[in-house]
Symmetry: C2
Subunit: 199 residues, 2 copies
DNA sequence: AGTTGTACTGACAAAAATGTCAATAGGGCC
DNA sequence: GGCCCTATTGACATTTTTGTCAGTACAACT
């Protein structure tokens, strides 16, 4: 069909292996967050990343490889975020709870959790456990008045509520005729209320 | 390979269309709850239902047909459950909240919600909205002291917390070294605390 | 410039999942 | 009994998704 001069030599983007993996995982993450786990197909991830699907296989071996790498990456990002927020020297209990809530309420984090739970990979969140342990340790060392179990209980509730809001907050709020941020506001009130010793 | 007498005439189970659909949807629901949305494949649903996959197509037209029928069925079951629990004449506000919480905390309901949200079908929960509206109406008629928005706010929080517990309660509790029911207990305490006018 | 390692690609192959169709058989009805 | 309707099935066909492989092009090193 083509007549003109010889086809131009094809120019390629050549990344370092790390950059290539990063690029692909970022594309996969976007798909996960925007369209759900079902959308993580070889061809779609490749197209979103701007490469050919054989290239995805080259870097991850298989689609399952992409999935587990993505899980690990997102879990690491989440724990990093939590640790950074909590290690700020002025992080008193209340502020720390906010940070924890914020981290888990983020859309990506919430959907990661749902993904892990629905696919039976919930055990993969061990890293989160370590972070929580670290938080508790810090708290106990700083403020000897708190009981360890109570602290863990509080964090447990905090995380569940945060993920619930991150997952369903906007949709459910809208469904019930309230502004999209309403669920978040209410949840924070609830957390703070409990914190300030409401009972 | 076989030698003996001629093969026995194949006996079939022949159901009414309604029973056949019901049978298939029940199998699909079990798959959804136990293995997640990814497990809803034509062949797997058929095997679990004890029929051939062509039969599934016959009754639902396509796999997408099975999915939407399952969504509708589960939503209907959920709303029915809520309504029944709430229409008991002695359902005061506290008991009603318990019933609401229980309905949404059930594993199937929680996973249904996650499924709908992740696949972008969150809008399908309109039926839930109608139920909530009905609840609010009833409440307002019975107890003129409550403000409509406050009631909706409370229900919103209640549902999100319940679904969060239903989805992540057992896994997260175990992950943090607590008994599997711990998250549920804490959440109920929280709900009750708010109910009894903690703030 | 030549050599080398490997990220990258296109084309092909295999597997998995979905859908089509003619034929079979169960159950109600005459 | 014979007839009709259709739920059910097995075999085939199509589409989607995943994976293989030989060759190409980019960058680093000599």
């Amino acid at each position: 069909m083509s007549i003109g001069p010889a086809a131009a030599p094809k120019t390629r983007v050549r990344r370092t292996p790390e950059a290539a993996r990063e690029n692909i995982l970022a594309a996969a993450e976007a798909l996960l967050v925007e369209q759900g786990p079902q959308a993580i197909k070889l061809a779609d991830v490749a197209k979103a990343a701007g490469v050919v699907h054989a290239n995805v296989i080259h870097h991850f071996g298989s689609i399952a490889g992409v999935e587990t790498a993505l899980m690990e990456r997102m879990i690491r990002q989440l724990t990093d975020k939590v640790l950074v927020a909590l290690n700020q020297p002025d992080a008193v209990l209340g502020v720390g709870a906010q940070a924890l809530f914020d981290a888990f309420e983020a859309k990506g984090a919430a959907r990661l959790a749902a993904w892990l739970e629905l696919t039976g990979e919930g055990a993969r969140m061990t890293l989160v456990r370590e972070v929580v342990d670290e938080i508790v340790q810090t708290r106990l060392a700083r403020d000897s008045g708190v009981d360890r179990d109570a602290a863990v209980d509080f964090i447990l509730l905090n995380i569940i509520l945060a993920v619930g809001v991150g997952l369903f907050g906007p949709t459910l709020s809208a469904l019930l005729g309230r502004p999209p941020e309403r669920a978040r506001e209410l949840a924070l009130e609830l957390i703070e209320g409990r914190l300030t010793g409401a009972r």
